[in-house]
C-alpha cells in the first residue's frame, strides 16, 4: 500500500524522497511554479508553489512529501498570493508579451493567465537592463529574466559548462556570463544547450529560427498550463 498525502481533499501517492510538488506532478495535480523543473534540484526562490501543510505555509518544491500531510493548494487565498507574486515579477522586469517571441510558449505568461491576472497592479519599475546579443545564435534579454536560476542550474548540472550566475543584490541583481569579456560570444554557450531550453521566459532565446512556431501551435495556445501535465514548456522545436 503506497503512502499518500492529501492535496485539496485528494489522496496522492508519493515515493520516498519526493517533494510535494513532485508527487503532485506525478498525479497530474498542478501547483503553480516557475523556478522548479522536474529533474532539477529544488530552488525554492520564486515562492509561487507555496501551499499550506497542516496549516503551515511551505514551498511545495522544497518540502518533502510525508504520509498524511494535509495540503491546501487551490484555495482563494493562495491563488491571490500567487497572483500578487506574478504581478510583482511583471512589474519588476520589462515583459512586453506582444512582441516577445516566447509569447504562447512562455511559462510566466501562462501562469499569469492561469492565475487570472489581468494587470500588473503594482507600478512598473522599468529597470534599465542590458541585452547581450553578442552571440550569433543565442540572445540574452535581461529585461525578461525572473532570476529563477534554472539556466544557472542547467548549465552546471546538464551542460557541464557553468556559463551563468546571478550577481548583485536586490534590484541590482542580474544574470552574468562566465567569460573573460562577460559576453555570451566568449562563453561556452551553444544554441542547443539545456540552459536555453529551460528558461521559463524569453530571457534566453535561440536566435537561429526566430518566430518559427506559428500562432495556434505554441504550447499554451490551446491548453492552459494548469491543464497540462508538464512543468516547463518544450521549446525543442523552436530551439533547433
Amino acid at each position: 500500500m503506497p503512502q499518500t498525502i492529501n492535496i485539496d481533499k485528494q489522496n496522492i501517492p508519493f515515493s520516498e524522497g519526493q517533494s510535494i510538488i513532485e508527487a503532485a506532478e506525478q498525479a497530474g495535480v498542478y501547483i503553480p511554479h516557475l523556478c522548479h523543473k522536474a529533474g532539477y534540484k529544488a530552488h525554492g526562490s520564486c515562492r509561487l508553489c507555496t501551499v499550506t501543510v497542516n496549516g503551515r505555509w511551505v514551498s511545495a518544491c522544497t518540502e518533502p512529501a510525508e504520509a498524511h500531510q494535509q495540503v491546501e493548494n487551490n484555495t482563494r487565498e493562495l491563488q491571490s498570493q500567487r497572483r500578487a507574486i506574478v504581478q510583482l515579477l511583471f512589474a519588476e522586469g520589462n515583459h512586453h508579451c506582444p512582441f516577445c517571441e516566447k509569447s504562447g510558449n512562455c511559462q510566466l505568461q501562462a501562469v499569469a493567465y492561469s492565475l487570472d491576472m489581468h494587470d500588473t497592479h503594482f507600478a512598473h519599475q522599468l529597470p534599465q537592463r542590458s541585452l547581450d546579443a553578442s552571440h550569433p545564435d543565442v540572445l540574452l534579454d535581461r529585461d525578461r529574466c525572473i532570476q529563477c536560476e534554472l539556466c544557472v542550474r542547467a548549465s552546471q548540472e546538464y551542460d557541464k559548462k557553468n556559463v551563468f550566475a546571478l550577481s548583485g543584490r536586490g534590484p541590482s541583481t542580474q544574470l552574468i556570463i562566465n567569460s573573460e569579456s562577460g559576453k555570451l560570444k566568449d562563453s561556452q554557450i551553444n544554441k542547443n544547450d539545456e540552459a536555453i531550453k529551460v528558461c521559463p521566459t524569453g530571457a534566453l532565446m535561440n536566435r537561429s529560427k526566430p518566430f518559427s512556431i506559428p500562432i495556434g501551435q505554441r504550447q499554451f495556445d490551446k491548453i492552459p498550463i494548469d491543464q497540462q501535465n508538464t512543468c516547463v514548456p518544450d521549446t525543442t522545436e523552436a530551439s533547433t
Binding site: P98, F99, E101, R207, K209, P210, F211, S212, I215, Q217
Partner: protein, 483 residues
C-alpha cells in the same frame, strides 16, 4: 467642437476628428467677421516607434512595428519583413512564402478598404455631409441601408478571415519571419476561403458600383469638394501595372504626365525628404527635386489608380478604365479616393481568387537563407499608400537606426490643403454649425488617414514656447529649431 474666443477672433477646434484611425484635431482661426485666417490639421498623438526599437534585435522588428496600428498591422508587418529579408541577405523568397505574403496583403487591403468605405465614410455619403450627428454611423447605415451595411461587414470579415487563417489572428498575428514565413495554408483552410469567393467577388463588384454611383450622384459638389491638384506617387510593376506588394516607384505630375518612372524604391532617400513643422507630430514629405513648396504629393488608392497603366485583373481593369475615362485621364478630386479605393478592393478580391487556386500556397518551402547585410529597406503599398521601412543594424543584429515614412504622412500637405479648401467654401464668412464642420472631416476622411501610424518626429520637433502675462501681452518667446 470647441469654440474659443481669442481677443476679437475665434479659434474653432474640431477635436477629436471622428471616424478615422488615430487621434488628430483641426483648428480654424477666424476673424471677428468669421473670415477664415488659417486652417490646420494637427496630429496630437505621439508614438515614437522609430526611437524605441533602437537596440532591439532585428528579428523582433516585424512583430513590434505592426503594433503601430490596429487597422493595417499587416502592412507594417510585411514592410518590415521585406526590409528584414534584406538584412538576412534574401532577395528572392520561395514561391510559397512570396504568395502567402501576397495573399495576406490582399486580405489586409481588402478588409481595410471595406472598413473605411462602409464603416467610416458611407454614413457621410449615404445620409449627406450635414446630416444629424447621431445618424452618421454604421449602425444607422445598417438600419436604413441593410444590404449595404451587411455587404461592408461581410467584405471586411472575409479579409480578416484570410489574415487569421495565415497569421493566426485577425489582428497582430505573426507569419513573416526573416527570409520567409512560418507557415503556409493547409488545405481545409484554403477550401473554406475558396468557398466564400463567389459571394465576395459579387459583393466587391457591387462595392465599386456603390462608390461610383454615390460619387456621381452629386457630382457637381463632389468633384470640387476640397479640390486640390497634386503629383501622385505609387508603386507599379515593371510594365506599369498596379502593384501592391513589390514594385518600383512611379510619380505623375499634376497634369497626369509621368514625371519619374521605375525609380528604385530602395533609393527612396535620393528623391524623398521630410520637413518638420512646429504644430504637428506628423512630418511633411516632399520630392527633393521640386523642393518643399512644389514637391508635395499624394499617395493611396487615388495615386495608384491614377498612376498605373493597367490593372492585371479583368474586373478591376474594367472599373479602372471607366474611372479614368470619366476623369479624362487623371482624377484630382479627394472624394474620388472612395471610388478608386473600391476598384482596389475588387482587384484584391480577384487576386485572392487567383492565389487560392495556386498550389504553391500550400507548399512546404518556407524560408530561404542568405548572407546578412547591415541595411534593409522594405517598401509596400499599404491601404493608405506607399509605406517605407528602413533599418540599419550593428554587427550584433541590433537596430541602430530606423526610418518609417508612413502612407498618411505623405498625404499630410494634401489633407491640410483640402481642409483649407473646404473651410473656405463652407465656413468662411458663414454661420458655423456642427454639420458645416463635419464637411471638414469628410475631406480628411476621403484620404483614410491613419494618424497613429504617422507620428514619429521624436527628437526632431521644433518647439516654440510663448510666455504671456495676465493681460495677454507677450513677455518672452523661446524657439528650438528642428535643424
Amino acid at each position: 467642437m470647441e469654440i474659443i474666443d481669442k481677443n476679437k477672433g475665434k479659434r474653432i477646434v474640431i477635436d477629436p476628428i471622428s471616424r478615422v484611425e488615430g487621434h488628430g484635431k483641426v483648428t480654424l482661426l477666424l476673424d471677428e467677421n468669421n473670415r477664415l485666417q488659417e486652417a490646420r490639421l494637427h496630429i496630437v498623438e505621439f508614438r515614437g516607434f522609430e526611437k524605441f526599437i533602437e537596440g532591439r534585435p532585428y528579428e523582433e522588428v516585424a512583430v513590434i512595428v505592426q503594433r503601430l496600428c490596429g487597422i493595417c498591422p499587416v502592412s507594417h508587418h510585411l514592410a518590415a519583413a521585406k526590409a528584414i529579408d534584406q538584412l538576412v541577405g534574401v532577395n528572392q523568397l520561395s514561391p510559397t512564402a512570396e504568395k502567402i505574403r501576397r495573399l495576406l496583403h490582399y486580405g489586409q487591403v481588402l478588409q481595410s478598404h471595406a472598413l473605411h468605405f462602409f464603416y467610416l465614410s458611407s454614413p457621410d455619403l449615404l445620409f449627406g455631409f450635414e446630416t444629424d450627428l447621431h445618424r452618421r454611423n454604421i449602425i444607422e447605415v445598417i438600419k436604413d441601408f441593410p444590404d449595404i451595411g451587411r455587404q461592408g461587414i461581410q467584405l471586411r470579415k472575409f479579409g480578416q478571415d484570410i489574415i487569421q487563417a495565415i497569421s493566426g489572428k485577425k489582428i497582430h498575428g505573426v507569419v513573416a519571419v526573416p527570409g520567409g514565413i512560418n507557415r503556409s495554408l493547409d488545405i481545409p483552410q484554403r477550401d473554406a476561403l475558396r468557398a466564400q469567393l463567389p459571394d465576395i467577388l459579387k459583393k466587391s463588384k457591387k462595392a465599386v458600383a456603390i462608390a461610383r454611383d454615390l460619387y456621381l450622384s452629386n457630382i457637381d459638389i463632389h468633384k470640387n469638394f476640397g479640390f486640390i491638384e497634386s503629383s501622385f506617387l505609387s508603386l507599379v510593376d515593371s510594365k506599369g501595372a498596379l502593384e501592391l506588394y513589390d514594385g518600383n516607384i512611379r510619380i505623375k505630375d499634376k497634369a497626369g504626365k509621368i514625371f519619374k518612372d521605375q525609380l528604385d524604391d530602395n533609393r527612396y532617400f535620393d528623391y524623398i525628404q521630410e520637413e518638420v513643422r512646429s504644430w504637428s507630430y506628423m512630418k511633411f514629405p516632399f520630392l527633393s527635386e521640386l523642393g518643399i513648396e512644389k514637391g508635395w504629393y499624394r499617395v493611396g488608392p487615388l495615386a495608384r489608380v491614377n498612376n498605373c497603366a493597367f490593372i492585371s485583373t479583368p474586373l478591376a481593369e474594367q472599373a479602372r478604365k471607366e474611372f479614368i475615362q470619366f476623369h479624362h485621364g487623371l482624377a484630382q478630386a479627394p472624394l474620388a479616393y472612395h471610388w478608386a479605393r473600391m476598384i482596389e478592393l475588387l482587384h484584391c478580391a480577384e487576386q485572392i481568387e487567383n492565389l487560392l487556386q495556386d498550389e504553391d500556397i500550400t507548399g512546404n518551402e518556407l524560408v530561404v537563407k542568405g548572407c546578412p547585410q547591415e541595411e534593409g529597406i522594405g517598401v509596400i503599398e499599404a491601404p493608405r499608400g506607399t509605406l517605407f521601412h528602413h533599418y540599419k543594424i550593428n554587427e550584433e543584429g541590433l537596430i541602430q537606426k530606423a526610418n518609417l515614412i508612413v502612407s498618411t504622412t505623405q498625404n499630410n500637405q494634401a489633407m491640410n490643403d483640402s481642409v483649407r479648401e473646404v473651410a473656405r467654401e463652407y465656413i468662411d464668412g458663414q454661420e458655423i454649425t456642427e454639420g458645416a464642420l463635419n464637411q471638414i472631416e469628410v475631406a480628411i476622411r476621403a484620404y483614410d488617414p491613419c494618424l497613429s501610424c504617422a507620428t514619429h518626429a521624436m527628437g526632431k520637433m521644433p518647439l516654440k514656447v510663448e510666455l504671456f502675462d495676465h493681460n495677454g501681452e507677450l513677455l518672452d518667446t523661446k524657439i528650438k529649431s528642428s535643424v
